[in-house]
């Protein structure tokens, strides 16, 4: 899948202006809904495996989605961390398995991570996961030594 369906969905949402979100699926009441659109329930499985794992074209597409969906606005360019946490340090608040990262994007997390499951099809989310998994932790962890 390419990005076109994603962009089309976003354009639709943007043109719709300040639309009220539909009632979110159970468990999502405390989440921000990206674009005001609630994910449908029942499509997340934290035990699921990433179908694109290690696929470089998928990672590149995920990187484009990371910018197109404004993920970089909170997590920083290259996902190094900004107002939101770093996503390339190999450390995860909510678990770093394929399915757990998917779940974080799909359903959002408390403290402001929006739920993107209402905007992004499963393939686009998996490609985002692929992109994040492709990132190398920074070589110099600055807490370790000072010269």
């Amino acid at each position: 899948m390419d990005l076109r369906p994603v962009v089309a969905v976003v354009a639709l949402v943007a043109c719709g202006g300040h639309q009220e979100g539909a009632r979110p699926a159970p468990g999502l009441e405390e989440r921000v809904l990206a674009g005001g659109v609630a994910p449908s329930a029942g499509t997340t499985d934290i035990a699921a495996a990433n179908p694109f794992k290690g696929d470089r074209p998928s990672a590149a597409e995920g990187e484009r989605t990371f910018a197109a969906m404004n993920c970089d606005g909170c997590h920083g360019g290259g996902a190094v961390g900004f107002v939101g946490p770093s996503l390339r340090d190999g450390r995860w608040r909510y678990g770093g398995s394929d399915g757990q990262i998917y779940q974080s994007i799909f359903a959002g997390r408390p403290r402001g991570m929006p739920a993107y499951g209402g905007l992004l099809p499963a393939g686009a989310i998996w490609r985002l996961v692929t992109y994040l998994q492709s990132l190398e932790p920074p070589p110099n962890v600055p807490t370790e030594s000072w010269r």
Binding site: V7, V10, A11, V13, A14, G17, H18, Q19, G21, E30, R31, V32, L33, A34, G35, G36, A67, A68, M69, N70, C71, G73, C74, G76, G77, V80, G81, F82, V83, G84, P85, S86, D89, R91, W92, R93, P110, R111, G112, M113, P114, L119, P138, N140, V141, P142, T143, W146
Partner: protein, 586 residues
């Protein structure tokens, strides 16, 4: 309603009284963010002098238990100190009459944690306002609360902003008579910026004035709204492409002032959204502007845009300091403003005319400000946009030549302004961006590097009539603390690497410093204790933009480890996050 201004020529004759609101407060109180409606951050207390300042010592500290950036400042009223923390916006009341300053009470409001993901730049709060026995402040998630100062009881709580539209509310309110004036952040989320006036007794929203859009919503009425440089109707609509203004930014996250004689309320507006200027052709009025309104009904009286069609994220929300300034032998009712864009403006606050505009740091995006038109003369090679690629070496950065987060101070005794500065430049790669509600709407990548000379900050004294600095002290890091100046001619500020400093207000000579445990992004205050002695209080607690930018300054989240900031890789060697209230005395 308190004093407004002192002419510079008479400056040494009088000291300002602490400005009261609706009832007398004792001398030496600090009842509002900037101590007075003129936003001077001047205390007339004079026990601490350049001669004895080296003997300053800490007399009390208190951990707030919160690690977010501690911007803003405490209040002191009736021998009680009030402290608002960053999210979750706890309000502490300390009894200064008792040993160890124990708590009188503590107010813990409900605050939506999702605000943490909507606030652009850490979960900061810029402070409270005391009026008529109430402590009034904003919660990060879009609520204003009024708390009984004596008991800690919540009197009212009003929803003023909408998180789902990207609005958060770290701004400190200003209370004028029976109006509580509030605004919202969200220039990075494509909000439709506004100012609101609430009823002090009930919290009811009396008026809403948008900063952009049609005259009917901007409250620009024929015969009342008279900008100095602009003519015609629908200025804040016609200076935008159709409908783009609806998500055009113009947040209100800085500081407000009030002139009781003119009955005018002054505040600045933030950046237009998004950062990619090619998505919003036109001047984008009234973003990056100063607006003068009637507090009673919000009517717009004049407006002036510092940075038309802002292409660099130069918010205009910094404090508007109201003083009289003698220019060309003529005393003017002035408004002095140190903009993110690097120019210091001296305006006529009656009309909005620009009297003086000179750079106070290295500036290269504009050559000068044309006083005939009020417009900057822009260096077109520094214009940004998605089609223009990566524009290199723009000075100052979008952090500002001075950040609005760190307000300046003015001494009627020296006639000088005191401010923290940043000496950094940036590259600016704008990109096309789509607004998705609940997510950032930015559209630029803007890495920083140190400005000329390599020292990234400073603390300076400024002559607003001449438009030049009188002295300047370089600092190795950007300086993000507000300034305080006192009747003893001592100025105070703090640094990102955690020093709190006193300098001679006349010469800039360093007098004293103390390492306060975390970088300072708050604003010092001075007050008289129950013992009649002079004290100085300040928060330590690095954060705000430096939560985003400093790299590894946090240790509370093992799931978030960052590389150092490439433009100041060793800041984390000197500070980590914290949240400490400090009080110093002789």
């Amino acid at each position: 309603m308190g004093r407004m201004t002192l002419p510079v020529v008479l400056a040494t004759a009088l000291a300002p009284a602490a400005a009261g609101t609706a009832g007398a407060v004792q001398r030496g109180s600090w009842t509002m963010p900037a101590n007075d409606y003129a936003s001077t951050r001047y205390s007339d207390l004079r026990e601490i002098t350049p001669a004895n300042a080296p003997r300053l010592r800490p007399v009390w500290t208190f951990s707030t238990g919160v690690l977010g950036g501690h911007e803003g400042q405490p209040l002191v009223v009736d021998n009680t100190m009030y402290v608002v923390t960053p999210y979750p916006n706890v309000l502490y009341a300390f009894d200064l009459t008792r040993e160890g300053y124990p708590l009188k009470w503590k107010y813990r409001p409900p605050v939506d944690p999702n605000a943490l993901g909507i606030a652009c730049c850490d979960a900061i709060n810029r402070g409270a306002f005391y009026a008529s026995g109430k402590i009034v402040y904003n919660l990060l998630d879009g609520h204003t609360v009024a708390i009984a100062a004596a008991t800690g009881k919540e009197l009212w709580r009003t929803r003023i902003a909408d998180l789902s539209e990207g609005e958060t509310t770290p701004v400190a309110p200003l209370v004028v008579k029976d109006r509580v004036i509030v605004g919202a952040s969200g220039g990075e989320f494509g909000i439709h910026g506004w100012l609101k006036g609430l009823d002090l007794e009930t919290g009811r929203i009396v008026w809403t004035a948008y900063n952009i859009g049609p005259d009917s919503e901007v409250l620009a009425r024929p015969g009342v709204f008279k900008p100095f440089y602009d003519r015609g109707e629908e200025l804040a609509l016609r200076s935008w492409p159709p409908d783009v203004w609806r998500a055009g930014g113009a947040p209100v996250w800085g500081w407000m002032s009030y002139d009781a004689d003119l009955d005018l309320l002054y505040y600045g507006t933030g950046n237009p959204a998004p950062y990619n200027p090619e998505q919003r052709a036109g001047d984008n009025k009234w973003t990056a502007s100063v607006l003068a309104r009637r507090p009673e009904d919000g009517a717009l009286v004049w407006a002036y845009q510092f940075t038309p069609h802002d292409s660099w994220d130069y918010d205009g929300v910094a404090e508007m300091i109201l003083t009289d300034v003698v220019i060309g032998g003529r005393r003017r009712k002035a408004l002095v403003h140190f903009d993110k864009n690097g120019f210091a403006y001296t305006l006529d606050r009656v009309t909005g005319e620009v009297l003086v505009a000179q750079p106070f740091v290295d500036v290269n995006w504009a050559k000068r400000v044309d006083l005939a038109t009020g417009r900057p003369v822009i260096d077109s090679t520094k214009l940004t946009g998605a089609s223009r690629g990566n524009i290199k070496d723009i000075c100052p950065t979008l952090e500002g030549g001075k950040t609005p987060a760190a307000p300046a101070a003015y001494s009627p005794r020296t006639g000088l302004f005191y401010l923290a500065t940043n000496n950094m430049c940036m590259d600016y790669q704008a990109t096309r961006v789509t607004r998705i509600a609940g997510t950032p709407f930015i559209g630029a990548n803007t890495p920083y590097h140190p400005g000329p000379g390599g020292k990234m900050g400073g603390f300076i004294a400024w002559d607003a009539a001449a438009g030049r600095s009188v002295w300047q002290t370089p600092e190795p890091y950007p300086v993000w603390s507000g300034a305080l100046v006192t009747g003893g001619d001592v100025a105070f500020y703090g640094t990102l690497d955690g020093w709190f400093k006193a300098v001679d207000a006349r010469t800039g000579k360093a007098l004293w410093r103390f390492k306060v445990g975390s970088g300072v992004v708050g604003n010092p205050i001075s007050y008289a204790g129950p013992d009649g002695r002079q004290y100085v209080a300040v928060y330590a607690g690095i954060g705000g933009d430096w939560f985003l930018l400093s790299g590894d300054v946090r240790s509370d989240d093992p799931a978030d480890v960052r590389p150092p900031a490439d433009f100041m890789p060793d800041i984390a060697r000197h500070t980590s996050q914290g949240g400490i209230v400090w009080i110093f005395g002789l």
